[in-house]
């Protein structure tokens, strides 16, 4: 082995002997990315990862000023926004990057779904991805409460109350999440712990598995491209694909800077547990389709409370996504699985229409 290694200087040899740099080099050299007409969608996983990196960095910076208690949280964010140099920028980037990350994640998830990249042997890659999606929503939900403002307070009340409607274990889960029977300072402290310690640890484990699987199996070629046959074209990951990836990251960063500078994150009014829910209360946009569905459900459906039907429906939807690779046997055989394509398109249309209605339908009607 050392005989084939080119002479790279003393630092390289020193590190090579201790770390084994040439193993990484070989890994990077061998990684290939297929070239076909759908390869545009390959960029969204990496973009999600990049935005997650932005979240970690800005999140750590926010930690230096944030105080996780009902008495101080709002004031500490106010201080950060008004007094700390570039505090508004760090917080705005964190808020916008969260939104863009979820957006990139939606695109990544649904493009993988429609291109059937979940088929054998990538079932675990898919399931870990769905789990990461769930964890990301958890990040969004817990992070939303931390500034302790009016909107976040009621969004959290509603969101946690929804867990309470789950049959049998609901009330227990609700108390576990809220740290008591109501949304109080105890909830804030708990959400803080979940947001900055528990979820990051969970992400590291699942993301590690996800990325390992992606490396192990390489990029999936869509069945449609596979069926056409013909010569397989590829490009090396390093540097060809990586450089293209970085163009995407830079674009994301540019959009992020633009949004953060033009539309900085707002703080609103401090949460008051004894004020009525404000008119126009809404959750983050990625929960909007669920929120809007709950508005339309009547109070009783077939003798069951409407919200329970809704919650069970979304629970089953999540479960469906998780086990999708095992339901779609046709995609596994490489034949057309148009049923699951249409289900995927149906879900996308449902989410978009309900989100649109959530922002346009009159809240007081």
């Amino acid at each position: 082995m050392p005989s084939t290694a080119p002479t790279r200087g003393r630092l390289w040899s020193w590190l090579e002997e201790r770390v084994g740099l040439s193993d990484f080099e070989a890994l990077a050299r061998h990684k290939q990315v297929p070239i076909h007409r759908h390869r545009f969608w390959y960029y969204f996983g990496g973009m999600t990862l990049f935005l997650f990196g932005v979240q970690v960095t800005t999140g750590i910076l926010l930690l230096l000023y944030y105080r996780p208690s009902a008495e101080e949280a709002y004031e500490s964010v106010q201080f950060l926004m008004a007094e700390v140099q570039f505090g508004w920028l760090i917080r705005s980037i964190h808020a916008w990057s969260a939104n863009l990350m979820i957006l990139a994640l939606f695109i990544h998830l649904f493009s993988v779904l429609l291109l059937k990249a979940y088929r054998r042997p990538r079932e675990i890659t898919w399931m870990s991805g769905v789990a990461l999606f769930g964890v990301s929503l958890g990040f969004g939900f817990t992070g939303y409460l931390l500034p302790w403002n009016e909107l976040a307070y009621f969004a959290t009340k509603v969101g946690t109350e929804i867990t309470g409607a789950v049959p049998v274990v609901g009330h227990f889960m609700l108390r576990l999440l809220r740290g008591g029977d109501d949304v109080t300072g105890a909830t804030l402290t708990r959400f803080y712990g979940i947001h900055v310690a528990i979820l990051p640890a969970v992400v590291m484990l699942i993301l590690g598995a996800h990325l390992f699987m992606v490396q192990k199996h390489g990029m999936s070629v869509p069945p449609g491209v596979d069926r056409e046959g013909g010569p397989r074209r590829t490009m090396p990951f390093v540097p060809d694909f990586l450089l293209r990836d970085m163009v995407g990251w830079l674009s994301a960063l540019a959009v992020l800077a633009l949004l953060a500078a033009i539309l900085p994150a707002e703080l609103g009014k401090k949460a008051d547990p004894f004020a009525p829910a404000p008119i126009g209360i809404k959750p983050e946009w990625y929960f909007m389709f669920m929120f809007q569905t709950l508005k339309y459900l009547p109070s009783r459906i077939l003798g069951i409370e409407g919200e329970i039907v809704g919650i069970l429906g979304f629970g089953l939807g999540g479960l469906f996504l998780l086990v999708l690779p095992f339901l779609d046997r046709r995609a596994e055989r490489g034949s057309r699985a148009s049923l699951f394509t249409w289900i995927g398109i149906g879900i996308i249309v449902y989410v978009i229409v309900l989100t649109y209605l959530g922002y346009t339908a009159s809240p007081t009607k």
């Binding site: 509603v158 109501d182 004020a275 009525p276 829910a277 209360i281 109070s299 919200e307």
Partner: protein, 150 residues
């Protein structure tokens, strides 16, 4: 091992059993306290059976509503257009938001999911599944005392 043969207890299998059960017991002894720790202790349920609303009776105009604290939960006091005072829990029966009085409709309304209640607390439209719990309102001079029903 063939099914006809009885497994012979060996020193090795005994040690494995011992190791396995100790490992299991260790995991349980770690998980049990953690799981109990995560469940918050029960909060003492507010025993207040009645409260004095921190607003004088003559300050509440007809066709308005006012949120006040009833123990640890919000409650709503409404003076109807006819001048009658009524009080209910302000916690929406749908998903726990705090309701408010809508003078334009003469109804109690929840902004979260557009739930409507009439001035008897009945859920008249939208997603709320149950009526709001009513309270008893007594006026003593200018003082308003709201208490739980009997």
């Amino acid at each position: 091992m063939e099914s006809t043969m009885e497994p012979v207890p060996t020193r090795r299998s005994f040690v494995n059993w011992l190791l396995g059960t100790s490992a299991g017991a260790f995991v349980l002894s770690v998980l049990y306290p953690i799981s109990r720790y995560l469940v918050p202790p029960p909060a003492g349920e507010s025993s207040a059976a009645s409260v004095v609303v921190p607003v004088k009776a003559d300050e509440i105009k007809p066709n308005t509503g006012q949120i006040f604290k009833f123990g640890s939960k919000p409650a709503i006091l409404v003076r109807t257009a006819a001048g009658e005072l009524r009080a209910f829990t302000a916690v929406c029966t749908h998903l726990n938001c705090t309701v408010q009085y809508r003078p334009d409709l003469g109804e109690i309304w929840c902004a979260c999911h557009n739930g409507h209640f009439d001035l008897n607390g009945h859920n008249v439209s939208g997603p709320p599944p149950r009526p709001l719990d009513p309270y008893v309102v007594n006026v003593r001079g200018t003082q308003i005392v709201v208490s739980k029903g009997v």
